[in-house]
Symmetry: C2
Subunit: 219 residues, 2 copies
DNA sequence: AAGTATCTCCCCATTTTTGGGGAGGCGAAA
DNA sequence: TTTCGCCTCCCCAAAAATGGGGAGATACTT
């Protein structure tokens, strides 16, 4: 008898994991190896174990999906990954592809799609949800989307630790003087971080920063 | 044989619904009557059918959970409701209780909690996730939380149409001059709305407004 | 040793936001 | 009819955010 496809599921919502397991259980060729509730758990898991397919949520506490993929790339861990996301964000997909993801599944999509996605990716194909595909089409009409190894990530020149700290506090409604007080640095420094955050995230004001923080599960 | 508890599930993520159904199916006393993917579907469903328990997500397209509860109150529909939420937000809970919800379940909680919540609520008890309970305790030390019929909602003196319009644009990173331009009103007027928004939502700046908009699915 | 990144701080000026007040017009409800 | 909510606009002033520049200290890498 053929070996079943081993799947590991990572999402911070246990209910959702149980749903995925329930759906996968209906298929004879696929098997859930285990699950993780945070990015840290995924990384710890990957140190000792592996799976044929990793289903990875982007928004997780303690290292999000992006960080996990970056870690995999760094450690040369080569695991086929299907991204699970609430946002049909093309930019995110781009980044995911450059980070080695093979599939992109919207949380809105029904269960059968998971099965199809897993089988497609396991057969070395790529799988994208319909919403993503139409979004991509709009963007790259005529151009093909390569899964190539672009050296630079298009989005997010990765924020520094301190920048993330400031970003969190901004998203928690703190003003610059307050942040300066909390972090025990001068207001000027806080403002410097504000500027670099605006540049790096490519948004136009503090509201944009807060939204960025929400989307990237930084808060 | 005793009649099973009929449950209707409303959430915009089909995977999550399937998860809940899978969990509920393991219990012999409960049965899923059906599900809805948007607030509109819930309202349409409630026009003709009913259930013992409604499991209701807050964040849904086309009328969110809050709107659904408001509709129920307006139409004097009395259905026991368990709120499903990603946020352990005490303020939200308060509003939910005043709108008649009987339970509050965090999406982080595992499946068994759903079963317990359904049975508790069906037995005319209230059910709150642990995170909510500890948050409430912090706020109301010593005070008891009534499920009474307070005439006025404590939070959100319900925003006017125009305020919501301005709020949306703020959350979309627009500045006051821009908003004035978009809505074809003077900057002064926009600033007046900013002030009343800050008062009504009880946040301290534009970032807070954006967060409020996100939480209440106004954008 | 030279470069690079990060953290830190400052100067400048302009724009935007916040916070207080008042006030007219309009339509619906009491 | 009068009151009330909503939309609209204004004055004023202080606080905060934005945008440009420069620059020193430290630590890590090549």
């Amino acid at each position: 008898m053929k070996q079943k496809i081993q799947v590991h599921v990572a999402d911070d919502h246990k209910i959702l994991i149980e749903g995925i397991i329930a759906v996968i259980d209906t298929d004879k060729e696929i098997e859930v190896e285990g699950y993780s509730l945070t990015g840290k758990e995924v990384i710890d898991w990957a140190k000792e174990k592996t799976a044929d397919i990793l289903i990875l949520d982007i928004n997780m506490p303690q290292y999000d999906g992006i960080e996990v993929l970056k870690y995999f790339k760094l450690k040369k861990i080569d695991m086929k990954t299907i991204i699970l996301s609430s946002y049909d964000d093309v930019k995110l997909v781009q980044e995911m592809i450059t980070l080695g993801a093979s599939g992109f599944l919207s949380k809105d999509s029904a269960g059968e799609h998971i099965i199809n996605a897993i089988k497609a990716v396991h057969a070395d194909e790529q799988y994208f949800s319909d919403a993503i595909k139409s979004n991509l089409l709009k963007l790259y009409t005529g151009q093909k989307v390569e899964s190539g190894e672009r050296p630079e990530s298009t989005i997010a020149n990765s924020l520094t630790d301190r920048e993330v700290e400031v970003l969190k506090l901004i998203a928690q409604e703190h003003s610059s003087p307050e942040i300066a007080d909390i972090l025990n640095i001068s207001q000027s420094t806080v403002d410097t971080y504000r500027k670099s955050l605006l540049k790096k995230t490519n948004v136009k004001n503090a509201v944009g920063l807060a939204m960025y923080a929400v989307k990237n599960k930084i808060i």
